[in-house]
Assembly symmetry: C2
Homo-oligomer: 301 residues x 2
């Protein structure tokens, strides 16, 4: 392993530990009045592991733009709540009908459909509310920087974001040749992009820097989704924590379906290259963000 | 009808027309990239009528605190989106399993369960995002006033708000004698309270005024829920647009169930009185808000 890869891994693992710690601490303090079973259902999925890539991106973006780590963490936690909410709802019987997620029973298998629905709703709404409260309370960041940060997160989650992407992914009639690109953008890239942009707003990044970050996040997110599609066909179940071939079985319009496995791999490499080009427009230390491009491209789970 | 009641009705009807107009205009402009079917499902429920009490409260609170009508309308629309989202999800088969809402087929009866789930998610998240964008874009309200306005709306929607209330309402094991009060507060009052408080933040209301408004909104909301429970037992189906007795049939722990119909009616009167007492602490023209207390107490649908 090269030196810069080793250094990236150290950063990534350290960020992951901090995020797990923050999530555990949050989960152990049920807000006053929240029904116990709802909180259990919410935190069951929030603590169910995952690579914590979104929080990592938020923390690293915060570091680059000189944001206090607690403030970047507020964004990191908010985005992970939103991401978790979307997974809980995606797994529901009326959507993908999955019984396992990361090797554990899905939320509705444990808590029932009604509670999984509410746990998803609650996490979707608690995310931005949590960030708003933390960032208003800290008195470190002026409100005019907090507002666009919240907005980019909310926009990435709604009908022009995750919800729109999930619609394209599930509705046959909305699909065409361009679907994999559109689904990857709306369902995956736009939230990754928000993870990077929101802390940059807090840190007062320039308009030029925001443009570079927007492009970086979009390409990184699309690359991420392409690799997901590739792994769905070629990955090993024990590494993936789920059954490979499920998307192909459901005849989903994946990137592999577009032009075959090798073409999809080439697309991932191209998107990763574009992500790095976008980063080069930022005159700050972005080596760790470059590291995640390589990491996500070469991952096997 | 007394003079002040007539004047209240004029205000109420005029507000309702403006809100319907604003919602229709919004629905006719699908945001770029949002899948057509998702937008159809979202706007189907958003335009399905209702009394538009929440938007009315937001507009009236905005008027009292000198907020530009467009800015109060941004809050009004956001809250109506959140309210609509909660209704779509409440009607789903895994929740109350309702086929009719306001005399029309429920969202999932028209668009299917998966799409109704996504339409609800999208409306939940588009609401605060819409308000954030409008209020940031208008450049009339300083960001440090927008932030607490968004926060009170987000808090009212999440696990310590609508989602928590809905959990209490559906989970047998979470229920006890205090349930009707807690359900009324979390599921209904807290969002009505947010409708009144959010525009007051925008208008720079004092801490004392915010406290009065918080109390007013809470009591008004609880009174509203008690009257709902009373109407469920004694209302006429042709006026309600739904089958009365459904809550009683589902053995829900309603206010009527607590101590009978007459006791519930007395509680509604008491809560309405407390709402008016709270209002009296505000040295501004609050006659229209007093009017809505009487209107909601004496409504028959």
């Amino acid at each position: 392993m090269r030196n810069d890869q080793q250094s990236f891994r150290r950063c990534f693992n350290s960020s992951r530990e901090k995020v797990e710690q923050a999530l555990k601490s949050l989960a152990s303090q049920k807000p006053l009045g929240v029904p116990a079973r709802l909180w259990d259902a919410m935190t069951y999925s929030l603590l169910a592991g995952g690579k914590r890539i979104r929080p990592f991106l938020a923390l690293e973006s915060g570091r680059i733009f000189g944001v206090h780590e607690d403030d970047a963490m507020a964004i990191a936690i908010a985005v992970e709540m939103i991401h978790t909410a979307s997974l809980i709802h995606d797994d529901l019987p009326c959507m993908d009908d999955d019984v396992l997620r990361r090797g554990k029973p899905t939320n509705h298998m444990v808590y029932g459909e009604g509670m999984a629905l509410l746990a998803g709703d609650a996490l979707f709404l608690m995310g931005p509310g949590y960030a708003a409260r933390k960032l208003e309370g800290c008195r470190r960041v002026p409100a005019e920087r907090v507002l666009p940060a919240l907005q980019v997160i909310l926009d990435a989650s709604g009908p022009s974001g995750i919800c729109g992407g999930q619609t394209l992914d599930t509705e046959e009639e909305e699909r065409d040749k361009s679907s994999p690109w559109r689904i990857a953008y709306w369902k995956t890239a736009i939230l990754l992009r928000a993870c990077i942009m929101a802390p940059a707003y807090l840190g007062g990044a320039s308009a030029v820097e925001m443009k570079c970050l927007s492009s970086f996040g979009s390409h990184l997110g699309v690359a991420f989704q392409i690799v997901d599609d590739v792994l769905d066909v070629s990955g090993r179940p024990e590494q993936l924590g789920k059954t490979p071939g499920k998307d192909a079985m459901q005849k989903k319009n994946s990137f592999v379906h577009l032009g075959g496995l090798e073409a999809a791999k080439a697309m991932a490499i191209d998107q990763s290259r574009r992500a790095k080009v976008a980063l080069s427009g930022i005159r700050r230390d972005t080596t760790v963000l470059e590291g995640i491009v390589d990491y996500l491209e070469s991952r096997n789970a």
